[in-house]
Symmetry: C2
Subunit: 185 residues, 2 copies
Amino acid sequence: MSSQLPVARQHFIQGLSRISQFWGFPKAMGAIFGALYLSPNPLSLDELVEQVAVTKGAVSTNVRSLERLGMVHKQIVIGERKDFYFAETDFWKIVKTVLREREKGEFDRALRSIDESLEMVEQQVDTENPELAQFYQQRLQNLQAFFHTLDNLVATFLALDELRMGALERIIGSKMEKKSKSRST
Amino acid sequence: MSSQLPVARQHFIQGLSRISQFWGFPKAMGAIFGALYLSPNPLSLDELVEQVAVTKGAVSTNVRSLERLGMVHKQIVIGERKDFYFAETDFWKIVKTVLREREKGEFDRALRSIDESLEMVEQQVDTENPELAQFYQQRLQNLQAFFHTLDNLVATFLALDELRMGALERIIGSKMEKKSKSRST
C-alpha cells in the first residue's frame, strides 16, 4: 500500500481553502496556513509557491495577512537569505491576537475614518441636500455605535479572560502550596 | 460652500476598504458594503462597478461573499432585468447570520475534509513514515478539537441569545399586560 500521507495533506489543504473562501477570505490564505500547519519544518515563500500553486505575489500578500492575524510567524535562519515561516499551533492565542489587533494603530486609523466622515456630514445637515445628509448621518452613527459596542464586548472578554487566567493561576498556586504544606507536615 | 457629502461618502468607503483589508478580506468587499450602506436606493452590479472602481467580476464575487454573510441582500425589481442589492443595517442580525452559517452544508463539507484527512492519516500511523504520520495525526486532532470547542461555544451563545430574547419578550409582554390592565381598571 502506497503512502496516503501526501493525499491526506492535499485533502486537508483543499479543505482549509474552502473554509477560507466560505468566510470571504482569499482561498490561498487557507491553503497557505494548511501547508504550514502540516509541515514539520518552516517553509520559504518559494516552497509555499510550489506547494500551494499560486503566484509568489499572492503567497507574499496572504502570508502578510496571516502574520498580522498571528496565524503564522517568521523564523530567521542564520546564514540563510530567505525568510522562513511556520504556523502558530495555539489557536486560542490566535483568537486573542485577532481580538487584540483592533487596539493597534492601523485598525484605529480605519475606524477613525468613520468618525471623520460623520463629522463632514454633520457640517452639512442643515445646508444643501439636508435629507441625504440626515440619511448619511443616521447610518454612520449606527455603524459607529455598533463598532463601539463590539469593542467594549471584546475588551470585556479579554479582561475576563485575563482574570480567569489569574484566578486559575491562583488556584493552581494555592493547590501547590497545600501540596507542599501537606508534604512538609 | 460646496457639498461635502460625496467627499464624506468616499472617505467612508475608503475606511471600510482598509478595515476589510486589515482583517485579510479583499479590499473590494469593504468598499462594496460601504457603497451600499450609504445608498438610499438599492444599486445594480453596474452601478457598483462605477462607484467602487473594480472589475465587474470582482464586484460579483464580493457581492456573493457579502450575501452569504448576510451583509447585503438582493432586491428583485419587477420589470427590471438587472439584480439590485441593498445593505443589511441590523448588525447584530449579521453577527448571528455569520455564526449560524456554520451549520450549513458547505461549511460542514469543508470541516468534514479535516475528519477525512485524519482518517487517511490514522490508517498510516503504523506503516510507512510513522513519525510524519504521527505528526500529521497530532496536528489534525488539535485543529479538530479546536473547531469542536468553538462550535460548542457559538451554539451556546446562540442558544443563550434566544433564551434572552424569549425572556425579553416575556418581560415586555407582561409589562404590556400590566399596562392594559391598569388602563382597563
